[in-house]
């Protein structure tokens, strides 16, 4: 018997629909935890940290620039590790660079990550060469032939990440939105700003935690600004999506999104009032980092919930048909 079910929430009065035994229509994302959400966090962190490194270089804040360069390099490298581990066939990860495919956000993201991680590694190496304790690595970095070009190469790399960094922090929104998952696809306007704000808060938090207070003021400002953008973008998204946005408010995903918001707002407020207190600064940075991670876990869970209930697939499509506005695509090739 074809199941007919009524939506549970009073705010969605017309969510009556038919389905095949209530079974999902689309497949849930197969991506695993923690790989996928942690990659989304690290990619965003690395992208914005490298942008901060470039700004710090221009402003002459060398201490913050060092923190940001190292954060960006570590974030990109660790993120790539999580990405490879997520693959069903990790030994074939280089197949990602087999084609350059503009219709695939994952292909674009792979190329972006490859370029960005190379640039951030070079930038970090040039900054760390002079300050690390002696080792075989620093011996190479301090060899006259290398040392003569490394600072300029590192600076050039950092400046190049002004292009790759912000895209690293926002392309993941396209990655999620370019699916049939209603909660992701329909959110394609707000998701990039959610990711951008979250990445800004993440990188600001890392800067606050690993830079002496006197040099960390721009990081604190970034953290606060990021927390505001992330919170506003998330609120706007849930409001605009209506029925399709339900998974962000309900169940496990709803709990994660609420926790993420509390951590982000709390961390942002703490960053404002922390002053010179190391404890408060540490708490603020930790809360913002946890909030950014929690956002990513919430997004994945919301995608799963959105795919698992046929309501979110059927109801909007049925409304479209009943309104006489069926979907279409521009004429094919």
């Amino acid at each position: 018997m074809a199941a007919v079910r009524r939506g549970e929430e009073a705010m969605v009065p017309e969510a009556e629909f038919r389905s095949y035994y209530g079974q999902p229509i689309i497949k849930s994302p197969v991506w695993h935890e923690p790989h996928m959400p942690v990659y989304l966090y690290l990619g965003g962190l690395s992208g914005t940290a490298s942008t901060m490194a470039a700004a710090a270089r221009i402003a002459g804040n060398d201490r913050l620039a060092l923190t940001a360069r190292v954060t960006a390099a570590l974030g990109a490298a660790a993120g790539a590790g999580f990405l490879v581990a997520e693959l069903g066939r990790p030994e074939r990860f280089l197949n990602m660079l087999r084609v350059f495919k503009p219709t695939s956000p994952m292909s674009m993201g792979s190329w972006l990550l490859a370029v960005h991680s190379g640039l951030t590694a070079l930038a970090a190496a040039s900054a760390l060469g002079p300050v690390l304790p002696p080792s075989p690595v620093t011996a190479v970095l301090r060899a006259p032939a290398v040392a003569s070009v490394l600072p300029a190469a590192g600076d050039a790399a950092v400046m190049a990440t002004v292009l790759t960094g912000p895209l690293m922090s926002t392309y993941t929104a396209v990655l999620l939105a370019d699916t049939a998952v209603p909660a992701w696809h329909e959110a394609h306007r707000e998701l990039p700003f959610l990711f951008a704000g979250s990445a800004l808060a993440s990188a600001g938090a890392a800067g606050m935690l690993a830079t002496p207070h006197a040099q960390a003021a721009p990081a604190r400002a970034a953290a606060v600004l990021g927390a505001v953008v992330e919170t506003v973008a998330g609120a706007v998204m849930e409001r605009r999506l209506g029925l399709v946005g339900e998974p962000y408010r309900q169940g496990k995903a709803g709990r994660r999104m609420r926790l993420a918001r509390a951590l982000t707002v709390g961390g942002g407020l703490l960053a404002v009032v922390a002053g010179r207190s190391r404890v408060l600064t540490g708490l603020s940075g930790a809360a913002l980092t946890a909030g950014a991670l929690c956002t990513r876990f919430g997004l994945l869970e919301a995608g799963r919930a959105s795919a698992a209930d046929p309501k979110y697939t059927v109801v909007p499509q049925r409304r479209r048909l009943d309104a006489g506005r069926p979907a279409s695509v521009p004429a094919g090739p």
Binding site: A2, S19, Y20, Y21, Q23, I25, I26, K27, S28, P29, V30, W31, T48, T51, A55, A59, E86, L87, G88, R89, P90, R92, N95, R98, V99, K101, S104, P105, M106, G109, P166, S169, A173, V174, A177, D178, T179, A180, H185, H188, P192, F193, A196, L200, Q215, A216, A217, P218, R220, A221, A222, V229, T313, R318, L321, P326, A327, S328, V329, G332
Partner: protein
């Protein structure tokens, strides 16, 4: 490129024998998909997936129908029933409708709930605009010379992106293997000049294989005939080249709304909106760069690192 080939699945003559499921498994050596009792009519396959490339849906419908079929007009209650329903389903309540046919003149009061059978063999739609193919980052998914969409198993690295991209929920990752799998429309058989295994095995020609243009023309005739016989809810699904996926290479004749069969009523290829998505992401990226600049400008002027 050779002529575009396709499937026309005429569910009005499907008898639910599952010969297509078996033939597909045998020919393509598709592993078992678990033996789960789903308690959903005669269907324990459940859905298409990495290990189910054909799936026969069973819908036992029980709905009040009107005796005055003529007065009710073509929209009358019989439209949910297929040919087998007229024999009285095995579970027809009390058999009251008897062999005379549910809702026929033999019905006692004409208001009984009547069992109707819908059966449909689902398969990959081989979309004109295929999201799985668009989003595949390795080029493992490709368009064949027959216009079908196939995964190259030796290229797929198991990124899983195609899985949530498909608007029909067809392709899936085989977790113990790590790669994505789906119907190939028997690419190997087609290369050898044979029809796909499911179509070959179908005893009622519910699954028809051939050049897509011919199939569409044949389907139009068939649906007109059924409507003429009073099956007002008969409709083609996926046959329109102007729909959200540019038309399906495998399309259907259905006797009820698509969602009743577990099909999306109005699917869209997600990449249709990709240019807009990139524009929003680019806007956010620019804003992010601006926000970093603002952070340094404001913080630099106040207390802080300059001193």
């Amino acid at each position: 490129m050779a002529e575009r080939m396709g499937f026309f699945t005429d569910t009005s003559v499907c008898i639910g024998c599952k010969a297509c499921e078996v033939a597909c498994k045998e020919w393509n050596d598709v592993p078992d998909d678990g033996f789960v009792f789903r308690a959903t009519s005669y269907d324990n396959t459940g859905a298409l997936g990495a290990d189910s490339w054909r799936h026969v849906a069973f819908i036992e419908q029980s709905r009040p129908i009107r005796r005055e079929r003529e007065q009710a007009g073509p929209e009358g209650g019989l439209d949910g029933l297929d040919v087998l329903g007229e024999l009285g389903g095995p579970g027809a309540p009390g058999g009251s409708d008897g062999p005379g046919g549910p809702g026929g003149p033999g019905g006692p009061d004409g208001q009984e709930g009547v069992e109707g059978w819908l059966m449909s063999s689902d398969v990959c739609k081989h979309c004109t605009h295929a999201a799985c193919l668009d989003v595949c980052p390795t080029g493992a998914l490709f368009r064949t010379e027959f216009g079908t969409v196939v995964v190259q198993a030796d290229v797929c690295n198991g990124c899983g992106y195609c899985v949530p991209a498909c608007p029909y929920g067809v392709i899936d990752r085989r977790e113990r293997d790590g790669r994505a799998f789906k119907c190939t429309m028997c690419y190997d058989r087609q290369l050898g000049g044979l029809e796909p295994a499911c179509a070959k095995a179908c005893p009622t020609d519910s699954i028809q294989f051939g050049p897509l243009d011919e199939l569409r023309a044949r389907a139009e005739e068939r649906v007109e005939r059924l409507r003429g016989e009073g099956r007002a809810r008969a409709r083609l699904y996926g046959a329109d080249p102007d729909d959200g996926v540019g038309g399906d290479g495998a399309f259907f004749l259905l006797l009820d709304d698509p969602e009743v069969y577990g099909l999306p009523p109005d699917p869209v290829v997600t990449t249709r909106d990709l240019p807009a998505m990139w524009r929003w992401a680019a806007g956010a990226a620019l804003s992010l760069a601006g926000a970093v600049a603002v952070s340094f400008a404001t913080a630099g002027r106040g207390r802080g690192w300059r001193r």
